[in-house]
Amino acid sequence: MAEDTIIDVRDVHKTFVSETKRTLWNRLTGRHHVEKRVEVLKGVDLVVHRGETIAILGSSGSGKSTLLRCINKLETIEAGRIYVNGHLIGYEERDGELIAEKASITAQKRTDIGFVFQHFNLFLNKTALGNVMAPLRDVKKLSAAEARSVAVPNLEMVGLADKMENYPSKLSGGQKQRVAIARALAMEPSVMLFDEPTSALDPELVGEVLAVIKKIAQQGTTMVIVTHEMQFARDIADRIVVMDQGVIVEEGPPSRIFTAPQHPKTRALLSRSGILPA
């Protein structure tokens, strides 16, 4: 593995099986029971280098979110390997077999992976500042004063210095997403994963969130962004990855992907978004 490799996804396969028991504990620990099967990732390989910004494009249902969720073990996988910073995620390998690792070890590895959700997922009983401080206190075990001194600059960076005491119910969608970004960043992860961070926002609020993500990219943060914002992807990504039906069909620099796409699915996607003539 090259030294500047942050994410290394190797031949990952993921099949969804409809669950029979949806107890809270099953959902928390990611245990599921078997019935119906849909293969959503059919052998995905992806390498992300330090400092790189990757944009994943693809039509709805192509497996983009699932891939991102597998990278921090919000989903299980059946085959393949995912390494983040050299650590195998979610499993131990014994004689070539994947064996589920202890939840506490997975949790530790997740602190190195920031995740930003489409629907923000802020803690509703905490203020903006409380949201950013919570994992610093609960996971990193910082004192209140230390957590605050880490949280405040992160909230300032996303432009929310004046909203720190607001509860989520008193924040706009764009502000909520910026809190969520600050909360993930404050943990100082090696990589930030964004799953359609602006898809749930009113159009007039998209810009403020994209501006923050761009700022973070320019600070050299390694990131992978799933997005339908083509112009944004073209603008900030070092590399575009195109997915279709559970596989990566094409990848390359935006300058080439957006002007001379090779794969018919990429061409179809770009013409549907009005970037290529139909």
Partner: protein, 217 residues
């Protein structure tokens, strides 16, 4: 006018029972909160034995009258050598009973915390257990405040049932007074008013708690 005067006159004698009621209600509520949370956790756990035991407990408690449960604890348990004083027996009976109902409050409150928040916590490095205790349960407590308050008021009124197991709470005190003075109307009116005086301010507090819970939701 005699009736009103008599009612007032009886009051001090009944007030003596108020500390007993407070003791019963607070003790039983504490027991019900702790046991109720444990039952709720057992009901959502992935261990089927735990789920089974908790569900069985729930069915037994909800399927039998509280009065019978109190009588059972006080009059039947001694036959197997377990003798409990009236007040502790009352606390135990009320607590075991209300634990079943509170567990349902907790369970639905826990399940009402949106899954997105638990995923966010996991993605930030919380372990499943820590997610439960730091993210899910604190929020379910906020949601549960109103219903818990209402059950507390109901429990205060149910302390009257412990009069049958020799607890000298308000009703029993009234019964004793009645057998001595035969001022039946004045005594039981005073008793009813005393329950009202205790529960009315509490229901106001519950309303405020519910409004607060909604404001942050």
């Amino acid at each position: 006018m005699d009736f009103i005067n008599n009612t007032f006159a009886v009051f001090p004698a009944l007030l003596v029972a108020v500390p007993v009621v407070v003791q019963l209600a607070l003790g039983a509520m504490l027991l019900a909160l702790v046991l109720g949370l444990l039952i709720a956790l057992a009901r959502i756990s992935s261990f089927s034995v735990l789920r089974g035991v908790a569900t069985f407990y729930l069915e037994v408690i909800r399927g039998t009258p509280l009065l019978v449960q109190l009588v059972y604890i006080f009059f039947v348990l001694p036959s197997i050598g377990v003798e409990i004083e009236p007040v502790p027996a009352g606390i135990l009976g009320l607590g075991l009973n209300y634990a079943a109902y509170l567990s349902e409050v907790f369970r639905s409150a826990i399940l009402s915390v949106e899954h997105g928040q638990t995923e966010a916590a996991l993605s930030l490095g919380y372990t499943p257990t820590k997610t439960l205790w730091k993210v899910v349960i604190p929020q379910s407590f906020v949601v549960s405040m109103g219903p818990i308050g209402n059950y507390f008021i109901a429990m205060i009124k149910d302390t009257a049932l412990t009069s049958v197991i020799a607890v000298t709470e308000i009703l029993k005190t009234a019964n004793i007074l009645n057998s001595q003075t035969f001022q039946t109307t004045a005594i039981y009116t005073a008793a009813a008013i005393l329950y009202l005086i205790i529960s009315l301010p509490l229901s106001r507090i519950v309303v405020v708690l519910e409004r607060k819970a909604r404001a942050n939701g």
